[in-house]
């Protein structure tokens, strides 16, 4: 705690070699990254909420060119028992689960159980409104796509990609160790903490190169207007309903990424991490070690 406070005091000026404890603050995130990161936070929140709202208009997924209504790949449905009680039923292929309260059936605006795919706390707007969901979704889709494109351009032009994100040979050699570190919730210290670790790099690369472009393309592949020029893409993924299913799966990829990302931020010094994404300055845990110490630190965990 004392170290964190000391680091905070120092955040504005370049950092001299410290005495005890060896506080070390670096300029970690440049301004464009910080701005685009927070725009993206807003976009993802709106896109997921409004996307689930749109999904609720027909809470089923299919594979192929069209909807095979009798055999959906996924369905969040509702059944009524003899006492007129609603039960939420989630069907995945031929498997069926009772998900009353969350999926298929959940409390409506008046608190009574209602048939709806995703619950109102997860959709934007809360009450059923496909029209409003679409308005939110398509406005923020533009912001998301423009922000994401600018990010990709900036990332390559500024060498952020080659310098910070592209895995190096030594990153790959530390792959298994990094997995073990993550499982033990052990976070890098000193020099090592000034770089992204291999799993972190792979997660970011997955999101910016696969999830981002993928979800935009799958969204466009669902557009009947764009289909007149993107037919090849629609065919490539197996048809419009496949595109819709992939769009949905990637959305949950994003949700999974965000959950892990936020979890890692929470357990690795939430204030330091948040500050670095707001002001750019990051206090390196463990401070600066000389080469000898760094080698020694490498071999055992530091609390």
């Amino acid at each position: 705690m004392a170290a964190t406070n000391a680091a905070m005091d120092e955040m504005a000026r370049p950092v001299p070699m410290p005495a005890q404890p060896p506080a070390w603050t670096i300029y970690r995130h440049r301004l464009p990254v910080r701005i685009m990161h927070w725009i993206n936070v807003v976009c993802l929140f709106v896109m997921v909420g409004s996307g689930l709202q749109i999904f609720n208009a027909h809470p089923a997924l299919y594979w192929g060119k069209q909807s095979t209504f009798v055999a959906p790949a996924l369905m969040l449905g509702a059944t009524q028992d003899g006492d007129h009680n609603l039960h939420g039923v989630t069907k995945i292929g031929s498997h069926q689960f009772d998900t009353t309260g969350v999926l298929g059936v959940s409390a409506g605006v008046n608190g009574k159980p209602r048939a709806r795919g995703f619950p109102s706390w997860a959709t934007l707007p809360g009450p059923q409104s496909l029209a409003m969901g679409r308005q939110w979704h398509f406005l923020f889709a533009w912001i998301f796509a423009i922000n994401g494109s600018l990010y990709l351009l900036w990332t390559f032009a500024s060498k952020h990609f080659s310098r910070d994100l592209a895995p190096t040979g030594s990153d790959w050699r530390g792959f298994f160790r990094s997995i073990v570190d993550h499982i033990k919730f052990k976070h890098p210290h000193g020099e090592e903490a000034t770089r992204y670790n291999i799993l972190q790099k792979l997660a970011y690369l997955m999101v910016i190169l696969v999830f981002g472009p993928g979800i935009v393309l799958m969204g466009l592949a669902m557009s009947p207007h764009m289909d007149s020029v993107l037919g090849w893409l629609v065919d490539l993924v197996g048809g419009r309903q496949s595109a819709r299913t992939i769009h949905f799966i990637i959305a949950f990829g994003f949700i999974g990424f965000v959950l892990i990302h936020v979890f890692e931020v929470l357990i690795s010094g939430v204030f330091n991490q948040l500050r670095s994404m707001i002001t750019g300055y990051y206090s390196v845990p463990g401070g600066r070690d000389d080469a000898h110490d760094a080698a020694k630190e490498d071999s055992h965990e530091i609390e």
Partner: protein, 257 residues
């Protein structure tokens, strides 16, 4: 150890609660925002902007994908009005649309009307296309009908006409259904006034006796139960002024995504 476990559990419970509660709070904030006039105006701009970009980067006559007989869905799903109870419509159903006529009117040189038999006698186009509902599902069907372009050219569209309005015979929630599109979409080679679905006269559920097919748009643009085609320079004075029944309920007029 035990108390640690409990603390962990409490913390987990707290986290789950926070996620749900936080999300609900943020969503409520979004609803507030959507209630302000400046933000709802901004939300409404996404549709026209998407239309401007999508039409700019696609050729006006690029064709929607056409499929094969093997792709035709066993039953073509119907949505919206599926069994209109309007008196006029029921009368037409009773005598098998023998007295039904499609009026072509508004900003045209020569208003006229066509019976179903006259429509069937005109040169036709048949296409197997995918119908994409705004709800998210898709269905492939085979449509046969008269290209709208031919019907409009015969009437002579006046230069000041900017939109084609489709007038319908079905009432939904006390309002007659209607739709509209641009002249360029009306002239698209696949835009037809369809009277057959899957080699049979259009069933009532799918819009008998005539519906429009705008193959690069969502289902709600494909007006069913047509009674008239009206050329206008603005749709501001029709319905609630948004260009269509569902548009008046907040759906985007573009309907291309």
């Amino acid at each position: 150890m035990k108390s640690n476990d409990r603390r962990l559990l409490n913390r987990r419970h707290f986290l789950a609660r926070s996620v749900v509660g936080g999300s609900a709070l943020l969503l409520a904030g979004c609803d507030k925002l959507a209630g302000t006039s400046w933000f709802s105006g901004l939300l409404g701009k996404a549709g026209p902007f998407t239309e401007a970009v999508q039409t700019a980067i696609t050729p006006a006559n690029a064709l929607a994908r056409e499929f094969t007989e093997a792709d035709i869905a066993p039953t073509f799903r119907a949505n919206g009005s599926v069994d209109p109870q309007d008196d006029d419509y029921l009368d037409h159903v009773d005598n098998n649309f023998a007295d039904w006529k499609l009026e072509i009117r508004g900003l045209v040189e020569r208003p006229y009307s066509l019976s179903l038999a006259e429509l069937r006698a005109l040169p036709s186009r048949t296409q197997i296309t995918r119908h994409d509902c705004v709800e998210g599902w898709s269905c492939i069907g085979k449509w046969k009908g008269v290209p709208l372009r031919a019907v409009l050219e015969r009437a002579g569209v006046k230069p000041q006409a900017r939109f084609v309005v489709f007038r319908c015979m079905d009432t939904l929630d006390d309002n007659l259904y209607y739709e509209s599109c641009r002249i360029v979409d009306a002239y698209h080679p696949q835009t037809i006034l369809a009277y057959d679905l899957n080699d049979k006269p259009l069933p009532i559920a799918n819009g008998a006796p005539l519906r429009v097919r705008l193959e690069r748009k969502l289902g709600y643009k494909q007006a069913k139960y047509l009674s008239a085609i009206e050329l206008v320079d603005s749709y501001a004075k029709i319905g609630s002024g948004n260009g269509g029944y569902w548009e008046d309920q907040g759906y985007d007029w573009y309907g291309g995504i």
